[in-house]
């Protein structure tokens, strides 16, 4: 799973997901892409699950780019613990996704196969997405 090698702060605030993703919102490498149309946290596990879903469908041939990286840690308190006594310990990593963000890009595969692979990947994600193509976007 993806995670940062080194971070300045192990625990960070939750933050708010306001606005849209102006950066990383257009296709940069591939022919087909999966774009988020809602916001949410995309965990390293979900990034990996979606990547596996794409690779299983595409099998061999084609190239895939992951355009997001989980660089924010989230914490969790142990089970059956009373409230207080400080913030919990780091549990995992997430990428903060705002609407418009490109998540995965694909090229070198047939259009129908690419759309089906990205649809399967979208099923693993906790926010709404859409599939876009280079030829039909400006």
């Amino acid at each position: 799973m993806l995670s940062p090698k080194k971070v300045t702060h192990r625990k960070v605030f939750k933050g708010r997901m306001t606005g849209q993703a102006y950066r990383g919102s257009s296709i940069a490498y591939g022919q087909y892409a999966l774009k988020a149309v809602g916001c949410g946290w995309m965990s390293a596990r979900q990034i990996e699950a979606a990547r596996i879903a794409i690779n299983r469908k595409v099998k061999r041939g084609g190239k895939m780019w992951i355009r997001v990286f989980p660089d924010k840690s989230y914490t969790k308190k142990p089970a059956e613990t009373r409230m207080g006594k400080g913030k919990g310990s780091p549990e995992g990593w997430v990428a903060v996704i705002k609407p418009g963000r490109i998540l995965y890009e694909l090229s070198g595969v047939d259009g129908d196969l690419a759309r089906e692979a990205l649809r399967l990947a979208a099923n693993k994600l906790p926010f709404p997405t859409k599939i876009i193509e280079l030829d039909t976007t400006l």
């Binding site: 993703a21 963000r101 976007t137 400006l138």
Partner: protein, 189 residues
């Protein structure tokens, strides 16, 4: 280079409120500027402008912009310097047009297209593509849409540099001539 005709009208109202009401009315706000003219606020029909943009899809093009202000009509040769799009809906929000002279040389980024299969790849080598775009200087209409390179003659452990590209007359290379475009690494004769 491709040419496309686009019609625009001058607009008096500025600001985001006016821009939003323009968009609701099916028009796109735009701005026209350049070295010889004062900046002008324009509006374009969104549907026809989007169609024009798709006709030149992500390629260099000269836009013949016909600006009308009620009585007069002026045609400017422009390039689209920036097209702002909505990150979710992917529709056009705003356009920046920069007036150019068709007689003066300008620098453009032109895509490279590699054709054929390199001989060296069949002999066990790996094809390493270093450049996908090159900078060319010339009059706007002399600049090609793309530069095609035939790599079928590329043997093992050989390379092709920018200086070896065949360019049309009146167009010169901006970047270094010994910069490698594509190479075959490894392989045996």
């Amino acid at each position: 280079m491709l040419q496309v005709d686009v019609q625009a009208a001058k607009r008096d109202q500025r600001g985001k409120g006016a821009a939003r009401s323009l968009r609701r009315a099916g028009r796109t706000p735009a701005v026209l500027y350049g070295p010889q003219i004062d900046p002008q606020a324009l509006s374009l029909d969104t549907h026809s402008f989007t169609k024009a943009l798709f006709s030149v899809h992500r390629r260099n093009s000269v836009i013949n912009l016909e600006v009308s202000d009620g009585q007069n009509k002026n045609v400017h040769h422009v390039v689209a310097r920036e097209i702002q799009t909505d990150p979710i809906l992917d529709n056009v929000l705003h356009a920046d047009f920069y007036v150019i002279s068709l007689e003066e040389p300008l620098v453009f980024q032109v895509p490279l297209r590699y054709r054929g299969k390199a001989k060296g790849v069949d002999m066990g080598g790996d094809l390493v593509t270093s450049l996908y775009k090159i900078s060319l200087k010339g009059k706007a209409l002399d600049i090609p849409d793309e530069v095609e390179i035939d790599i079928s003659g590329l043997g093992p452990n050989s390379q092709m540099t920018c200086g070896e590209l065949s360019l049309p007359a009146g167009v010169e290379l901006v970047q270094e001539k010994d910069e490698v475009c594509v190479a075959v690494v490894g392989g045996t004769e």
